[in-house]
Each structure stands twice: as structure tokens, then as C-alpha cells.
Symmetry: C2
Subunit: 205 residues, 2 copies
Amino acid sequence: MSEIDAAEAERHKAKMAKRKAVQDAEVAGKTVAEKGLLIVNTGPGKGKTTAAFGLALRMLGYGRRVGVVQFIKGKWHTGEKDAFAAFGDQVAWHTMGEGFTWETQDLQRDIAAAQAAWGKAQELMADPTISLVVLDELNIALRYDYLDLEKVVAALKARREGLHVVVTGRNAKPALVEAADLVTEMGVTKHHFSAGVKAQQGIEF
Amino acid sequence: MSEIDAAEAERHKAKMAKRKAVQDAEVAGKTVAEKGLLIVNTGPGKGKTTAAFGLALRMLGYGRRVGVVQFIKGKWHTGEKDAFAAFGDQVAWHTMGEGFTWETQDLQRDIAAAQAAWGKAQELMADPTISLVVLDELNIALRYDYLDLEKVVAALKARREGLHVVVTGRNAKPALVEAADLVTEMGVTKHHFSAGVKAQQGIEF
């Protein structure tokens, strides 16, 4: 592979020059310099929450503050929570869930937990020191009608200027997708759970 | 929504009890307790690299060490790099790229950079103190044939026991997908670039 003749190098250069022209035109066509985005990570694949945390990390690297509300996850120990603790009060972390809905089996309790979480979410969204709010598994609370979809979407659309919000969870509601600026669907091409591998420290939690 | 009659609560409980039985059976069916996974994040959507960094963060939370090799990204400043610096020598970070291929327009230089990056990747994979290695944009180097696909896949398959490796980038090669334990395809449902929004600090870099 290290043997490249001059003609090949020239062809590559011409192709990449053309590619660069397309790329530059694309960049020039973008005129909105800063916009607080409503981001939705959905779909059955892995990476919805981890990508949200990756974005949070990026923000932290710029010295900005990040808020996290976990709507479903309960009090169990996770690596991400410990890792974010390294950033001190740059991170406002709130695990508000009671665990998976099939564990609690208590509708009233699930609804109360979701409503408390949504209250905390609104508080973080109103805090002007925070640049990014992660609403982890909010889609699940919406899917089970624990929260009023219309009110939640209206509040997300009315977020203050410059605030980025990331919503995660499967089965994002169409009204939320409609309101969002960026929606990524994580699809499963292959999953190790199907091969009988258990959830592992550092990978699943 | 807070008005729930007893019958509704009962129906919910029965449904969730059934769901739990399915869930428990699934968990019981998993027999492999620990396995170093080969993970591929691919597809045109956002979240491939950020999800890899989210996983890295999770590992760091458990006090484990993480290695990162960036195959394409050049020397420009990113938030994630600064954020990972907070973890000191828990992170071995190597930005080995020369920038996008359409910026360098120099095939020989791109190949040399990819080969140096792959050398570093093999070094990190051999380091027994490291639990997770992120090979960011390796798929791009493979797509342009900067590296020998067969050799790379063989080395990834022969990784030491317990080591997790995450490969990111669009257009993952079929041979890599075949070798992987977990493959997620990030699909674009909606993207703010199409609405003319520029790349922003904390979101894209």
C-alpha cells in the first residue's frame, strides 16, 4: 500500500480538491452561527444515552455547565455518574427515576417520579448558568403517558435562547421529532446481548 | 393524568408483571459474564464518536484506563480532549490525523498518518493497564484503503481477552461488521446543518 505512483497521487489530489470545493460551498451555505439545539437520540440501538453524555463531556471541556435528569434510571450505581463527579459543580446531576417500569409495577409511583423529574428538568432549563441539559429517557416517560406530551413539547420549544437540550430514549413521539433540530435514530445492526453476553461494567452501566 | 382509577392501576401492574417475566427470562438466558467487545459505531448520523466517548467516560468512572487514537482529526482544538485531560493519566490520548482527506489532498501523507495511528492503536491494545480503546474514524482510513483491511480486522479479532475496542466512522467495512460483537448504525432523521446552522462549540467539536 505504500507504493503509490505519481498518477495515482495526482488522481487522488484532483478528487479531493473537487470534494473540498463541495465541502466549502456547504459550509458557506450555513448562515446561522449559534443556535440552542433540541436534540433527540432515539431508536432501538445502543448509544442514545452514551452519545448524550459524550456531548455533555464536550461542553464540560469548554468550561460550561451541564444539567442531567434521569427519568427512569433509579438509584443504582453507574460509571458515568462517578465520572461526572470529577467535574464538581460544573455538573448538576439528578437521578429521579424509580427504576424500570416493569420493576416498580406501580403506575401512580411511576407518574409521580416522572413529574418530579420534569419539575427538575424545567428548573435546570431555566438556570442561565447551564449550557446543555440532558433529559435521559424522557421518551419513555412520554411513551407511557406519565407526562403531558403537549406541555412538554411546548416547554422544550420555548427553551431560552442558546440552551441545548438532548432528549434520549426509544420511540420518540412524532410531535417531539417535529419540534427537534437534530434527530438521530440508533439502529441495531448486531448486538452482543443476542449472543448471550450479560450487561457489563463500563459498557452497559 | 394524576387521576388513576384502581382498575387502571391494576391493568398496569398486570401488564408490567408480564413484561418483567419476559425481561427476567431474557437476563437468565445470558450466560457470558464478561467479554471484551468489539464495538462499531457507524452510519451517517451524529453520535458515533460522542457515544464512544460516553462509553470511555463510563469506564473512567470505574477507575479504569482508556486509550484513544484519532485517525483523521488533526490538531485542532476540541472540547472532549480538554475534558478527558481532567482524568490525568487514566486517559492515553493520541490525535494522529492530518485533518480531513479533502484538506490535505496528499495521498502519501494521509497513508503515513494512518499507518502511524494504527501503530499507536496496536500499542494501546497491547497495554494491559487499558480496558477500552477508542479507534476514532478508523473506518475512514479503511474506506480509503490507507490501511490493509485484512490485517486490521485480524488484529482486532486477536485482541487480548477482556479488552473492549470501539471503532467509529461512516461506511464500516463488511469484514469489520462481521468480526464485531456490537454494531450500531446512527441514522439521520433530521439534521440542523440542513437548516443552515453552523458547527458549534460543544456540539460538533
